[in-house]
């Protein structure tokens, strides 16, 4: 069996009045792993995922899953796909078990296998009571039911549109850990606003803005490319933030991360990095001085502000 794949080639979606939601987007991923799809609201993330699942028809271009065109044969293309787009809602009168069971049946599962899988998913996702009606569930509970439904019958490709949206911190951790486990033998494409989540789950990232893919690379490479734009400094004794700001020079912006710990953004040059360290040492005993860990956030902000000359389409 060939490896799981997601392919988008010259995909364009124009809405009425000439508004372009997606312009000539192209990317291809194969095998296993997780790809983060990042961009601001209205950037074209959900549009791309809808085109990939046949909820929208492209104006131009092709979307293929496992080598099968979604436009030409949607059923075959989605045969091995679990997807969550926007906020899915099972039939309100269905119970949790019935909703997941129905998806399993549409996917061709035998009743005994589906029942076993529902039990496993219940254990993994801490689902609401299986006899509860979906219409009475909270948003977070509904989301977990939808995630379970998308995973029934073990699809090789998983497409998720902000999967942890509306979930509480405990549920987010649950889903994050599940996705980290799933990506070992599945191909996951997920959009998200949460950089930390993408950093933890994904191996590859795609940045999109105003309908155009502006960067696609591995998380590692993006981190390398953007890691010098911010540093975290920790002092041994309390220091007022204004004293750091007063250093001026290479310091662009200072924010408080925690008590005695600050994040300083600068132009990314080594010279500026050294200059800032010299200044900080003069303010008090420095316990640590290192690149900020939220590199994707830095990359995201830089790319969306369009001030990064290093942003290239790989």
């Amino acid at each position: 069996m060939s490896a799981a794949s997601i392919e988008v080639l010259g995909l364009t979606k124009n809405y009425s009045r000439g508004r372009s939601a997606l312009v000539d987007a192209s990317f291809r991923y194969e095998g296993t792993g997780a790809i983060g799809y990042l961009g601001p609201n209205g950037a074209g993330k959900t549009t791309t995922l809808k085109l990939l699942t046949g909820l929208l028809r492209p104006t131009r271009g092709t979307a293929r899953i496992n080598g099968i065109s979604v436009v030409k044969d949607r059923k075959a293309a989605l045969a091995d796909v679990g997807a969550i787009i926007e906020s899915p809602e099972p039939y309100p009168s269905q119970t949790v078990a019935e909703a997941i069971d129905m998806v399993g049946e549409f996917r061709g599962g035998r009743p005994a296998d589906i029942a076993r899988e529902i039990g496993e998913l219940n254990a993994k996702l801490d689902l609401p009571p299986l006899t509860a009606r979906c219409g009475q569930l909270s948003k977070g509970q509904r989301q977990r039911v939808s995630i379970a439904a998308s995973l029934i019958r073990d699809p090789r490709v998983i497409i998720l549109d902000e999967p942890t949206s509306g979930l509480d911190p405990k549920e987010r951790i649950l889903i994050r850990n599940l996705l980290i486990e799933l990506k070992k033998d599945r191909l996951i494409l997920m959009s998200s606003h949460l950089m930390q989540e993408v950093t933890e789950i994904c191996d590859q990232v795609i940045f999109i803005n105003q309908g155009q893919v502006i960067l696609k690379d591995s998380v590692e490479n993006v981190a390398r490319r953007f890691q010098t734009r911010a540093v975290d400094v920790e002092f041994d004794t309390p220091i007022h933030i204004d004293r750091i700001r007063a250093l001026g020079g290479a310091v662009r912006e200072v924010t408080v991360v925690a008590e005695r710990r600050f994040r300083i953004t600068f132009d990314g040059s080594t010279a500026a990095r050294v200059e800032i360290l010299r200044g900080l040492v003069g303010l008090g005993p420095v316990l640590s001085y290192q690149s900020a860990s939220l590199v994707l956030e830095d990359a995201y902000l830089a790319l969306m502000q369009g001030d990064d000359a290093r942003a290239v389409t790989a």
Partner: protein
């Protein structure tokens, strides 16, 4: 890990029928319609028995008892089928259902069949109550069972036609509530008004589903195709009331069924989940 073979379209259609029927039977609107049918028809039958309104024959009794079926059928069809497709675009249900590896035409036909079964169940309740009155007056053997079967068959076809029209309206809208209201207004009020206006012209309302629905009761008692009444008080105004031939009613229903179902399938197939 293995690539799962998907069920055939037929198998998925059966799944859609079963699941959707279960959904319909659990909704309050079905329970409400069932109560509405039962209460109204039991009341009418009880009044007929109480006032000994047996009509001139069993056929005559059933002609009157079943005469309200087109109105009742439109209400049932609109409430059951009015949001069948709109629900996929006005709520999150579509994001749950339309990302599944199932052809939309299979989903549509599954829902259509389920809506028909739910509507037909209500129609049978209506017939059962009406027939109980006929049996009360004329005994079991006095009931023209052949005509009853024919009438039920035409009522089933009428339900299919109304549901096809309801599905068509449903495919236009994104809001399930608006879809149901517009379906009722269009099928019930609009055709009634148009029929009324046409009664002062010479045009036969062959395009009206309510007109075609009269065939359901006409199998029990023939009526003249065209009745002309001259109202002298209104300066010789001529009012025509039309009654379809049974075959004509059936043909109109088949036309509705085919045209509306094909159009709704095309629209549903092409409709996008925007917003």
């Amino acid at each position: 890990m293995e690539l799962h073979d998907l069920p055939s379209d037929t198998a998925q259609w059966l799944t859609a029928v079963r699941r959707q029927l279960r959904f319909y039977l659990k909704t309050w609107r079905f329970v409400g319609l069932l109560l509405f049918v039962a209460v109204v028809d039991i009341a009418v039958t009880a009044l007929n028995i109480a006032y000994n309104s047996a009509g001139s024959s069993a056929g005559d009794y059933l002609y009157n008892a079943i005469g309200a079926m087109p109105t009742f059928g439109v209400i049932v069809g609109a409430f059951i089928g009015g949001d069948a497709l709109a629900m996929d675009f006005g709520s999150g249900t579509g994001y749950f259902m339309l990302v599944l590896p199932v052809r939309r035409i299979v989903l549509l036909l599954g829902r259509y069949a389920a809506a028909f079964l739910a509507a037909f169940a209500l129609i049978l309740v209506y017939y059962a109550i009406s027939l109980s009155g006929a049996v009360w007056f004329y005994g079991f053997l006095g009931v023209p069972w052949g005509d009853v079967v024919e009438s039920i068959g035409i009522a089933a076809l009428f339900a299919l036609a109304v549901l096809a029209a309801a599905f068509l309206f449903s495919s236009f809208f994104r809001s399930p509530a608006i879809s149901i209201v517009v379906t009722i207004l269009a099928l019930f009020l609009a055709f009634d008004i148009v029929d009324g206006i046409l009664s002062i012209t010479t045009v036969e309302p062959w395009f009206s589903i309510l007109y075609a629905g009269q065939a359901i009761a006409l199998v029990f008692e023939g009526q003249p195709h065209e009745t002309i009444v001259r109202v002298t008080a209104a300066r010789g105004l001529t009012i025509r009331s039309w009654t379809p031939y049974v075959w004509e009613g059936v043909a109109i229903m088949v036309g509705y069924l085919v045209v509306c179902l094909v159009l709704s399938a095309i629209i549903y197939q092409r409709k996008e989940s925007k917003g």
